[in-house]
Structure formats: C-alpha cells, structure tokens
C-alpha cells in the first residue's frame, strides 16, 4: 500500500511517499518514517487523517497499534496521512524524575546548611521539632513520588515534549525552595503541638490513601501501558473520579496545617487549581467514552470531579 505523507500546510513531507505492506500497522509506518528521516523518531511523530478544509473537527490521531487498512476508505490501497513534528520528546519517567529530584534535594539544603547567612541573618538557631518533622515529611513525599514513577505508574503516551522539562522543573524547584526558605527560617514561628500532630497525621493518612489510589490506577493497565482509559472503581473512586488528586491535595493541606506558611498555602492553591483542571478534563473524557455510569459527586471540596449519575 502506498502512503502519502503531507505536512499540515499540505506540502508533501516525504517525496514520493512510502511503500508499505498491506498488513502494516501504524507502528510500522512510524518506523518507516524514522528510517527515512533519522531525526523524527516515532514518539516525535504525530500522524493524523486529513481533515477537510474548513471543517472544525478535531483530526483523528492514528493509533500505533492499529493496522493502516483500518484507516483506509473502502477498497483504496492508498492513504494520505498528515505529519506533525511534536519536537524533541522525553519519557514521562525522565520528566517526573527531574521535577521531583529538585524539591527532594533543595529542601534539605535550607535545613542543614547555613543558607540564611546570605540573607543577612546570623548563624542559627533553634530548630523546632516541627521543622525536623516537616523535613522528614517533605522528603518522604518526594521520595515516594520518585518510587511510584519507576515502580507503580503505567503511562499511556510514553513521552512529553522536552520544553515541559524546563517548565515543570521551574514550577517544582521554585516552589520547593520558596516553601523550604520559610519553614526552615531562623525566625520561623511554630504552631501548637496539637495542630502540628493533626496536620502531619492527616497528611500521612492521605499519602497512604494516595498510594492506594495509584495501585488501583496501575491495575487498570497492562505493563506495556495498554488498557487505555477506564473508569477506576473501588475505594475513593466510588465518590470522585480522580481520587488520586483529591488525596494529593489533602495531603498538602495536612502539611500546611502543621507548618503554617503563606508560601505553603500559595503552593496548595496553585497545585489544586492545576489538578482540578486535569480532573475536569479526565472526567469529561471518561464520561464521553463510557456514557453515564460515573461515580456520584460528594461534597464540593471532596471535589476533583463533579460527577452525576
């Protein structure tokens, strides 16, 4: 079968097109393109069916597992595919590892080293117990995230654009330093012992719940990442669609109740709004896919997703 490849502006992307087996899959096509173009490895290629000009429909993205025949109209043995370069890609694992590594390393710097000297404060200092527990809590959290990245999470689309590394690292590393600066500050004012215990206790429970949510999500997919999108069931997923985000948000709330800094609460608000956006998008996607059998919504602030029967 002959495959004609065009760019989004309509120009022929590979002169003369490509000749493939009739039984070839999209993955085979990706390999063939990579062979011809060297630079464009498969995860960088976005292959879509042409959309009639003027149409506002979203283009159909080719699934790498399907055979090319599935996308042919009727009996034609030719196919025209639109190619887009997604730019340099990194695997999600790489991306997550670097974005989490920053907070894991930077926070202890503020705790252990005389950093505040450079801000004009004298050598410390009295270290309050809550500051030590905060260090353990924080580092455990990001250590957990890194472990989950390598041993628990199963990713749908293997890669993310390289530019996201800079953007995401800036977000995590900047907020990590910003919070670490205040919690470990020589003039830090601790909350009451009871409040600290409640905060950390609640946070730990939420982190455990979050871990369990990740296990549930992992079991929705097979090890190679297939299984696609399904509605998670059981545990908190019976109440909200994205219970993993809910538990993550409440876990940060626990940390903030214990440490009480404006920096920490600002981070909580920003993180919550980001996760809420993701949750709404995922919820919409799942509803579209499986009709109306999604979980009931609980209270608004158990949120992560508004749902309905």
């Amino acid at each position: 079968m002959k495959v004609t490849l065009v760019s989004r502006s309509g120009r022929e992307f590979i002169k003369g097109g490509l000749e493939l087996n009739d039984s070839a899959t999209v993955a085979d096509l990706q390999e063939a393109i990579h062979k011809r173009t060297k630079k464009f490895y498969p995860s960088r290629q976005r292959l879509t069916l042409p959309v009639p000009s003027g149409s506002r429909e979203r283009p159909v993205i080719l699934n790498y597992k399907k055979s090319l025949k599935d996308y042919c109209d009727g009996n034609e043995n030719t196919l025209t595919i639109v190619f887009k370069d997604l730019g340099p890609q990194v695997s999600y694992r790489t991306l997550f590892f670097f974005e989490y590594l920053g907070p894991l390393i930077l926070y202890p710097v503020f705790y252990y080293f005389p950093v505040y000297k450079y801000f004009g404060y004298e050598e410390k200092r009295v270290i309050h117990p809550v500051q030590t527990y905060a260090l353990y809590y924080w580092c455990f959290h990001y250590f957990k995230r890194i472990m989950e990245t390598f041993f628990i999470h199963r990713f749908s689309h293997a890669t993310s654009p390289l530019s996201n590394v800079f953007r995401n690292c800036a977000y995590y590393w900047t907020f990590g330093s910003y919070i670490a600066y205040y919690v470990n500050h020589p003039l830090y004012t601790p909350v009451s012992d009871l409040q600290m215990k409640i905060g950390f206790g609640f946070g730990i429970v939420c982190q455990l719940a979050n871990f369990y949510c990740h296990i549930i999500l992992k079991n929705l997919r097979s090890p190679d990442g297939s299984g696609g999108y399904q509605i998670p069931r059981g545990f908190l997923f019976n109440i909200v669609t994205c219970a993993n985000y809910t538990t993550e948000i409440y876990q940060w709330l626990g940390f903030n109740i214990a440490t009480q800094t404006v920096a920490g609460y600002v981070f909580l608000v920003v993180a919550t709004s980001i996760m809420t956006n993701w949750a709404l998008a995922k919820h919409r996607r799942l509803k579209k896919m499986e009709g109306r059998s999604t979980p009931e919504d609980g209270l608004f602030f158990l949120h992560s997703c508004r749902t309905d029967r």
Binding site: Y182, H185, T189, Q260, T261, V262, A263
Partner: protein, 219 residues
C-alpha cells in the same frame, strides 16, 4: 439594526477613550513645557496629576475586557497595565528621590505619545466607525517601545537604593503566618521579568504590525 446596547457601548467607549486621550495630551504638553522652561528635574511635578489619573484610568480596560465590552484578551492587557501601574505608583509616586532623574522625561514622553495615538485611534473607531493611519501607530511603537521599556527598567534600577533604604512596603518575620515580603527583592524580580518579557512583547507587536500591514495591502 443597531441595538440600544450597541449604541450605548459605543457611546461609553467613545467618551472613555477621548477623555483618557485628553489626559495624556495634557501630560505631553505639560512635560514639554516644563522641559523647556525649567529642565528635566521638574517634569514629574508638572505632569503628576494628569499622569496619575490617566494611567490609573487604564484599569478600566481590564474590566472592559473581562465583561466583554472590548475584544482584547485580558492576558495581554494585564501585564501591560500592571507594569505601567507599578512604575507610576510603585516607583515614581512612592520614591520622590527618583522623580528628578532624566529617565522620567523619556518615560513620560514615550508613554504619552504612544497613548495619544492609541486612544485617539480607538476613540475614532468607536465614535466614527473608522480610523486613519492604523499603520502609523503600529510603526511608531518600533521606537517608542524600546525607549519606554529602557526608561522603565532604568528607573527601577536607579530607584533600588532608595527602595532598600526606606523599607517601604516590607513585611517582616517573625509572625504567625511565617510570611515575609521584601519590596527590594520584588523590584529585582520585576527587573528579571523584563528580560524575557520585553522581547516577547516586542515580537508580539511586530507580528501585529505585519498582519495589519498585509491586511491593508490586500484591501
């Protein structure tokens, strides 16, 4: 058929744009007058009232964008107006020591010419339905943006010692919310934002200009 709302909208926007135009015209006039008669150290004092008024009035434009009265996206008006208000109130008004600097003159003149062209353009469009020499405006920014931005950056930089010494707008630790704010470091951060922000804005304007020039060529 023009609905009553459309007429009201155009009337309101015409009045708004022409009023602010007059404000900026005053700024330019008084600035040049003071420059000629007394020298650059006195420019700020001469223009202070109309400058504060005209620049602060621009906050209305954020509102206009939010409620859909005008089509400009809030995402582009907000940083522009933010930096203007920061310079006007956060630097010039707050730190009198910087007011005699020569960059105040270049700042005020760059802003005034830009705004005079901009507000008269929109004023004409809303009142009469058309406006001449759209290309003229877009081309003047090629000079006025660099002079304006350099003046802004320069003034923030030269105001830094006064900011640090005065401790104005600072909030210190210890406090029960473990929060602090240092206006001096915030100013340095603002300077930092100008580094990627200015070329980005300039490129955006260049793109607008190219689009408008090619569109008028087609007509």
């Amino acid at each position: 058929m023009a609905s009553a709302l459309t007429v009201l909208r155009r009337l309101y926007l015409s009045i708004y744009n022409w009023l602010v135009f007059i404000g900026w015209f005053q700024v330019l006039f008084l600035a040049l007058k003071a420059l000629k008669e007394s020298g650059h150290e006195h420019v700020y004092n001469a223009v202070e009232k109309p400058l504060l008024l005209a620049q602060s009035a621009a906050v209305m434009e954020i509102l206009h964008g939010l409620i859909g009265l005008v089509r400009s996206p809030v995402s582009s008006t907000l940083p522009q107006i933010g930096s203007r208000l920061y310079l006007t109130w956060g630097i010039l008004w707050s730190f009198p020591e910087i007011r005699t600097h020569i960059l105040v003159t270049s700042l005020v003149i760059s802003w005034a010419i830009t705004e005079i062209i901009r507000y008269s353009f929109f004023g004409m469009k809303e009142a009469f339905g058309f406006a001449p020499s759209w290309h003229l405006w877009l081309s003047t920014f090629l000079v006025l943006y660099p002079t304006g931005i350099s003046s802004e950056v320069g003034l923030i930089y030269f105001a830094l010692p006064y900011i640090k010494a005065s401790e104005k707008y600072c909030f210190r630790m210890p406090n029960k919310w473990n929060f602090s704010f240092d206006y001096f470091y915030a100013a340095i951060l603002a300077l930092g934002i100008y580094v990627p922000g200015s070329p980005h804005l300039y490129h955006y304007m260049l793109g607008q200009r190219k689009r408008a020039l090619s569109k008028s060529k087609k007509e």
